[in-house]
Symmetry: C2
Subunit: 515 residues, 2 copies
């Protein structure tokens, strides 16, 4: 058994049975090993950013890592952006990257690059296998690292000769450490803060956004009078009817500052402090009031759910949470695109237990409130700001959840970064409804130029314009093997969306947003 085969068998023994791949020559022995080892589902992506975005979507929904298989140097470079998103989402990923044979590196062949340096920028764990005997044990260690709380990108680099040399057999799965518990004195301190009468915000992210985490947070809020809010970038959140409705911090700095004004205490639960996405002259980086106390109930790697439950008990909160009707489900609206009317229409249409993937900052801003009463669903968002995450993340989520519909909400500007994900959806006949918001402009940049105090001129206007020529998303989708149609009104959108819900396999709706 060579190193490559020992890795394939070790990954399976550690529970990793899905591999998103875009291999090259230095990975041929691993591909050959996969021919010999049954049980690994291999999903081809036609560009590395597809592979890594799929691994992110898969890991968020499967709660276990997929493996990637990528080509050395520039191959990995092409996949870094979505690994960056995965790192920010604490998604478990076993990122397998081939490299030149150890003895070939000194010849500086064309593809030679500093693969470790590239991997380090997006990984919490990096290892290059030193010999073929180490490949199996290194594979087991990579899975352990990926699964260690809060979830990590573990990059395993395999020089080609470690793949083709004699391996050391199948390495056993390594134990995954339990999440550490929040110390009792921290719980007591936070409980005291929540009883001191100050106006408090509980700021949630990551594990705290699970159904159980949100229920416990609501108990704490009910017992203490604190408000609940989530971070702007949501790795995964349980939402819809029967789930605790919690809104998210707005992306624009001024709106965020307004939402946070007046809070005297901000208590972080598996979240970083509320921080501006970008700096702007004269605007703050930290968005909570300067005199507010910021304290931490649980760090991302700790057991935030247990901490919230213990805190609720400590505060004497009742076990049961009463969720109001929230005003009922919005109805399908008519007319042209408008963020609120679209959000209401989508909320009315979302199928039961669907997975929503959002990569649409400007068109998606109004989506949250109307969908509190939608059918129960999970919501995944771009977490690291590396746009173009939507199509691949939705593709990976669909691989992880074969019984569930995936709804991908994709901005047109961002959608251009990872088009070949559509082909993987078609190839694997994945149940994804892709909605492209075709406003034909980098709308966010138009706003950001004004934000920095500049007056738009001819160059900036041209640099933000996607209308000359217009992208034809129906043809682009069909070119990748995905059926597609265009909507210009909410009624047309609703008809297409309903039809797409009834069929199997991918579909794309281009929603033309006319200025």
């Amino acid at each position: 058994m060579n190193g490559a085969e020992s890795l394939a068998r070790t990954l399976l023994a550690s529970g990793v049975d899905t591999c998103f791949a875009n291999p090259g020559t230095s990975e041929m022995h691993f591909v050959a090993a996969l021919d010999q080892v049954p049980g690994m589902r291999c999903v081809l992506g036609l560009a590395e950013t597809v592979v890594t975005g799929c691994a992110d979507g898969y890991g968020r929904m499967a709660a276990k890592p997929a493996a990637t298989l990528m080509h050395c140097g520039p191959g990995l470079a092409n996949g870094l952006a979505n690994l960056h998103n995965a790192r920010r989402a604490f998604t478990p990923v076993v990122n397998v990257v081939g490299d030149h044979a150890t003895y070939h590196r000194p010849f500086d062949a064309p593809l030679t690059a500093d693969t470790e340096a590239l991997a380090r920028t997006v990984s919490q764990w990096v290892r290059t296998s030193a010999t073929s005997l180490r490949v199996g044990p290194d594979g087991a260690a990579a899975v352990q690292a990926a699964l260690s709380a809060p979830g990590q990108v573990a990059s395993l680099i395999l020089p080609a000769d470690t793949a083709w040399g004699e391996g050391s057999g199948v390495a056993s799965a390594l134990p995954v450490p339990e999440r550490s518990l929040v110390a009792p004195d921290v719980l007591a301190r936070i409980a005291r803060l929540l009883r001191n009468g100050a106006r408090s915000l509980i700021f949630l992210s990551n594990q705290a956004l699970s159904e159980r985490g949100l229920l416990a947070a609501r108990r704490v809020a009910d017992a203490s009078g604190a408000d609940l809010l989530t971070n702007t970038q949501i790795p995964r959140m349980a939402r819809g009817r029967g789930r605790v409705p919690v809104d998210r911090l707005p992306y624009p700095v001024d709106s965020a500052v307004k939402v946070l004004a007046g809070y005297q205490q901000v208590l972080l639960v598996a979240s970083k402090p509320p921080t501006a996405f970008f700096a702007y002259p004269g605007k703050p980086s930290l968005l909570s009031p300067v005199d507010a106390l910021v304290d931490v109930l649980a760090r991302p790697e700790q057991d935030a759910v247990a901490a919230l439950e213990a805190l609720a008990d400590e505060l004497g909160a009742p076990r049961q949470v009463v969720l109001g009707s929230g005003g009922g489900l919005p109805e399908v609206r008519a007319g042209r695109f408008d963020p609120v009317a679209f959000a209401q229409t989508l909320a009315a249409l979302l199928p039961e237990e669907c997975v929503v993937v959002e990569d649409a900052v400007t068109s998606g801003r109004a989506l949250f409130p109307p969908s509190f009463q939608a059918a129960p669903h999970d919501w995944l968002q771009i977490t690291g700001g590396a746009i173009g995450h939507g199509f691949p993340c939705a593709t990976g989520a669909a691989v992880a959840c074969p019984g569930r519909k995936v709804v991908c909400l994709q901005a047109d500007g961002a959608g251009m970064y990872a088009l070949p994900a559509l082909w993987t959806q078609a190839r694997e006949q994945l149940d994804v409804i892709n909605v492209v918001f075709a406003n034909r402009i980098y709308k966010i940049l138009q706003g950001e130029l004004l934000n920095v105090g500049a007056t738009p001129g001819p160059t900036s206007t041209a640099l933000f314009d996607l209308a000359r020529p217009a992208l034809d998303w129906v043809k682009i989708a069909q070119g990748h093997g995905v059926e597609a149609a265009q909507a210009r009104t909410l009624e047309q959108f609703a008809d297409l969306f309903r039809a797409a819900c009834k069929r199997r396999g991918p579909f794309l709706i281009e929603f033309l947003i006319e200025g």
Copy 2:
């Protein structure tokens, strides 16, 4: 004048008047500055790999750098692969990357990444401006670095506050050092070697592939009996009628070893030694015979043309070179695709003074010999092995050469990495004929799997298959605003190609290669 404006004006003062851009929020002040500063042509790419590939193609043809404008962290990551190709081609590039404001970095906002570490993997020169006062001088230093022989990727990282803070005005252009000359004793040593009766190969790359370099090399060859060969990866080569015909080292190791067998001396001119692209078990990394002497006439940063001319004089070679007819121009062939018949057909059709960009390893293998007698042209090839280079490189070359037709020879697998370059071609109405070799398979990997001694099984067969579903290149091109048509025979191809030569603006021909 803020830092951003001082950079824009400094770049212009240093002769950089073209900027390939995919900006984000942290680059807004630079975009705003470009609104104020006339004279910079800004070309939008809808993904960073387009931006960097364009800068590579532009720099190879313009012999001066374009600037890029890219977004922090993951934005740069998306552009690394084509910067890797540019680095391998010694293309001058001024790679401008925005970043978070210096004071914003500690907040670890979502896009925060190690931008310098990413830049270092592909750049010969990296600098982060420390204050807004340094942006102008740093810009001039970046242009100087980019133009320093043999041509470099110079990455200038601009924290947002250095762009919006007060600048120090326009920095003057800095002197570019002359190429260093090859020392007389080296010339004498190489001349002695060429007279010693041993079988010699002169192995050329980079500057030696210019029209003048090739003429001088031919004089040396004629006077000494040595053979001429180019490296497999060609940054730019003057070819066609009236130029010295020199073939390239084949990509497959076995073929390359065969071509190099029997040489007792390999003399390098601006080239690395002949090296295998990948390592394979039991095959060599260095492709020349183990007992051959490898010596260096000129390093890439030296004046290889002057060295070849001095060597020719030293050897007493006549000034005039007689180029044979080479057997005349091949004719347009008929029937299905076949690499040799296609190469002959293309050679017959290439328009005068066109620029050929090749990113098609398997379909392109036979292209060289028939085109020795084609109309005069320049040939640019993928140099770093980071596939997906064709469309963007051709786009940038067309921006650099408005009067010349660009012919982009693009493999279908590799073509999927940078589709949005087609949109830039349409937007700028660039004169590019894109030819996609639609063999619907990762053909090179099929061969490489056999090369490593494996037997194809179901997983590898699926991972190399691009036919399920088939990509529809005509629709993909049309979706990006580029007119397109499919050819299934060489006659159809010739008709489409001739028609495309007569029109202006981009066109795409999908050549369906049926197994």
